[in-house]
Symmetry: C2
Subunit: 205 residues, 2 copies
């Protein structure tokens, strides 16, 4: 049996060689970051995020999209829609995004994330260069006109409580890195605007 | 302004082309999986997991290690060490590992994870081929002799409550994919045994 103290001494050497974020990013030839989409329900966040992910993937980038589909049924299925739960929802998503950026990925996050304070909290987990806030700025009127899942109609009838824009506030970003008018420009054009921003930040080509 | 109904129709096309796990794994030329280390405190889990991660990284694999260092201070900092909190701790870790495997990574998880039920829950989030349980089987006597952080001594003095092996149970796995005797074999040999298993599962070369 090896002496554990000896092995501990050996481990100090190994620890210094641990696989860290730069090593992972290098192997992937990309600069990891978190692209955070915020906006009202039906504003176009997920549509644009999906387009962006496909584009980045086609360029050989390694991405991951965190959205309601893979979070609400899994990690956050114990959370509801009260204000406290919504804050905890975003906190956990931000922490997972941080782990994934640490793992070397370009992480796209698509959640309403209505409160400035929670987006500030999320931003605080990253370096300045790593966090790119994308405000999908579509008017409430337009979102309500689209209403693909009938959620606004339900909220207006009082069947959905705490619905952002109806009986729960949305605080628009004051200085998002990218400001998209998805009611005016097509999702493809919006996606291109993000690509331009990423290029200027040297995240993508 | 584009008509939203038209854009929705377009989106159906796009959705079908979404970046899915096979596409991500392909770009990485690896088979994503979750390698789950379980064992007592000081059994050697993290030492072996670190060795394994460095080896996989050297082979060009894209890995990530989830352990106390990056989980307890972030995602799970709201959790303590009661039984309920420990179960929730493992549940969230398993969900994050699942997301990362979905993202195409080889994820190493290093937590005591003392309960069979929680490891079964974790396993249930993956396909059979994706989940590789590694039992780092070191006797309590040996772990207590090592006690690199003095935690066993503290627990014996009653200063640490719910400490696995002292006043909280550890349920050993009944059929882990890999069974390591870290008290008998060196960490390097233990790591090689995992590599052999991964090779036989065609996860790594």
């Amino acid at each position: 049996m090896m002496d554990f103290a000896l092995r501990c001494a050996t481990n100090i050497h190994w620890q210094a060689l641990d696989v860290h974020r730069e090593a992972r990013a290098l192997i992937k030839n990309q600069i990891p970051c978190c692209i955070w989409f915020t906006g009202l329900s039906a504003s176009g966040k997920s549509t644009i995020a999906n387009l962006l992910e496909k584009r980045l993937h086609a360029e050989g980038r390694h991405t991951y999209l965190l959205d309601g589909d893979n979070i609400r049924q899994g990690l956050n299925r114990d959370l509801g829609f009260t204000e406290a739960d919504r804050v905890e929802n975003i906190r956990r998503i931000a922490e997972v995004a941080r782990l994934m950026v640490d793992a070397g990925l370009i992480v796209l996050v698509s959640f309403i994330s209505p409160y400035r304070s929670e987006r500030r909290m999320a931003r605080g987990l990253f370096t300045d260069a790593e966090f790119i806030e994308v405000f999908v700025d579509t008017s409430l009127d337009e979102c309500e006109r689209r209403d693909p899942k009938g959620l606004y109609a339900k909220a207006r009838r009082g069947e959905l409580k705490n619905f952002t824009g109806i009986d729960s506030i949305y605080e628009p970003p004051e200085k998002a890195e990218v400001h998209l008018e998805s009611g005016v420009e097509s999702p493809e054009v919006c996606m291109e605007r993000i690509i331009e921003k990423l290029s200027s930040l040297q995240v993508s080509v």
